[in-house]
Amino acid sequence: MQDRFGFPDLGIGVGLRTTHYREILEHSPAVDWFEVLSENFMHTAGRPLEILDQIAERYPLVMHGVSLSIGSTDPLDWDYLRELKALRQRIGAHWVSDHLCWTGVAGRNTHDLLPLPFTEEALLHTARRVREVQNFLEAPLVLENPSSYVEFAGTPLKEWEFLKGVVELSDAGILLDVNNVYVSAKNHGFDPEAYLTALPMERVVQIHVAGHADYGTHAIDTHVGPVPDPVWRLLARARELGANAPVLLEWDTEIPPLAVVHADAQRAREFLSNLDVAGAA
């Protein structure tokens, strides 16, 4: 396969948030690209889409979902997928991502990214559904490693083995969230570098960086910024291991002005250019 499935290197982007709409529409700030939360622009015929259309005329966009529920044992929601595909076509999004998780079962949605058991049954079930979704979307699905707070007993695989197995069986992409790797490593006591080392980096289409809340006993993926240095160091390590993908900063708690979010995102250049210099030397 082609690295990153041939998707372009969009540079360094930030997550599109409603608090920044006015600034973006009035001043068109210099941001390489935006990631939009798919569901914010679904189940609507109104203002969210009108704003997104204007932003799509000015910036490259990618779509990031939270409700695909790819690992659920409920049937795939084809109405949702039809709307997802139409939105992608409408805004010309470069790719569509969601999380390697489930969000509900028995017809109910928790709107949370719930953990899968790392079993062969779950791996085969999820990979089969990823293939179905990709066939329908006529594009690779890009799957993000979520942060997690529990591990199920009797699950023989490690999280990174499970992620690798799903994307290789289904020929899907990876959205590598290095903050989630950090948070889950803290919560489950594994080595985050071992996680990164095990991944097929040629499948990494995009990288997320973000901040988190550390409560001592555990960490929660709050997306509060700025991004802490250990997470930046994991980004640099992922790049060393071959994850040569565009980077996006997520900031969802106590969101500051766009200029502050964008400035923090630019720290990626600092960490990655140091790496490039070291590599050249």
Binding site: M42, R47, G104, T110, F152, L157
Partner: protein, 278 residues
């Protein structure tokens, strides 16, 4: 690879969802020895947290996320009831209205009905305020039609007035209330710390022009006229009804002055997308 005692994926998901969305929390399960043993059998403890504490993170997140969603949709209601009462109301709503959609855009749609059925003294006021706030949410997500031209009513031929119907914009909501909730909402927006008002009938139109949301307080006679027009009553019949209502109430003297003002303001505000001459 699954061990013999481990449940299958479907059973595990159903169990996890039931534990993390239980109204009384994971603790309820913990107090029940059978459920507690099951949890500790299915979930491993972490380096620093017990299995129950780990699952509780998801349970806390479930209610917090949906309460946040309802607070976003109902900021004035949240203010009016106070944080604790609103939070209790929201939890009760979540328990009786589990989300069945991939989107949260319409999650709070039933809040006004839910408030109306509450036994508390604030129920009717809360229901009115919730209806106003939900109309704002609906209008955000509604298509804005191209508006009727400002002079369109003048171009209707005389013979057409008997049958001319005004076609309402899809992004218009006309609401009648038992309480002055639009004034309350405005005072809340301006941080004037409003208190729950006395009962008094009012009417408000909620609409959108471009990206901007608007609320227009309406004279009650105007609201009845607008209600007729929006429901498809021909223009001349609606005006005749208004005149007879006003005459019966002894309030007809100023209609000749007010009627063009009302219609002009509504057309200018984009309440209508066209005229249909039947």
């Amino acid at each position: 690879m699954t061990s013999a005692s481990a449940p299958g994926l479907r059973e595990l998901q159903r169990w996890f969802a039931s534990v993390t969305t239980h109204p009384e929390g994971v603790l309820e399960g913990h107090l029940n020895p059978g459920r507690s043993r099951k949890l500790e059998r299915l979930v491993t403890p972490g380096p620093r947290l017990s299995a129950i504490d780990r699952v509780q993170i998801y349970a806390d997140g479930y209610f917090a996320r949906l309460i946040e969603c309802l607070t976003d949709d109902y900021p004035a209601l949240s203010y009016a009831l106070g944080e604790d009462t609103f939070s209790s109301l929201a939890r009760a709503y979540i328990e009786s209205h589990p989300s069945r959609s991939r989107s949260l855009n319409a999650y709070g749609a039933q809040m006004a009905v839910f408030c109306r059925a509450r036994p508390e003294a604030w129920a009717s006021f809360a229901a009115d305020l919730a209806r106003l706030e939900w109309a704002l949410v609906e209008v955000v997500h509604e298509t804005v039609d191209e508006s009727l031209a400002a002079d369109a009513l003048l171009t209707i031929p005389a013979a057409g007035w008997q049958t001319a119907r005004l076609l309402p914009s899809r992004s218009l909501r006309l609401l009648g209330f038992d309480y002055p909730v639009n004034d309350f909402f405005q005072a809340f927006r301006e941080e004037r710390a409003p208190e729950m008002p006395a009962r008094a009938p009012t009417a408000t139109a909620v609409y959108r022009q471009g990206l901007a949301l608007w609320r227009m307080g309406l004279d009650l006679r105007a609201a009845l006229l607008l209600k007729d027009l929006v429901s498809g009553v021909p223009l001349s019949a609606a005006v005749a009804t208004l005149e007879s209502r006003s005459k019966a109430a002894g309030t007809g003297e100023d209609l000749a002055r007010l009627l063009p003002q009302w219609l002009g303001a509504w057309v200018q505000s984009g309440f209508f997308r066209g005229v249909e001459l039947v």
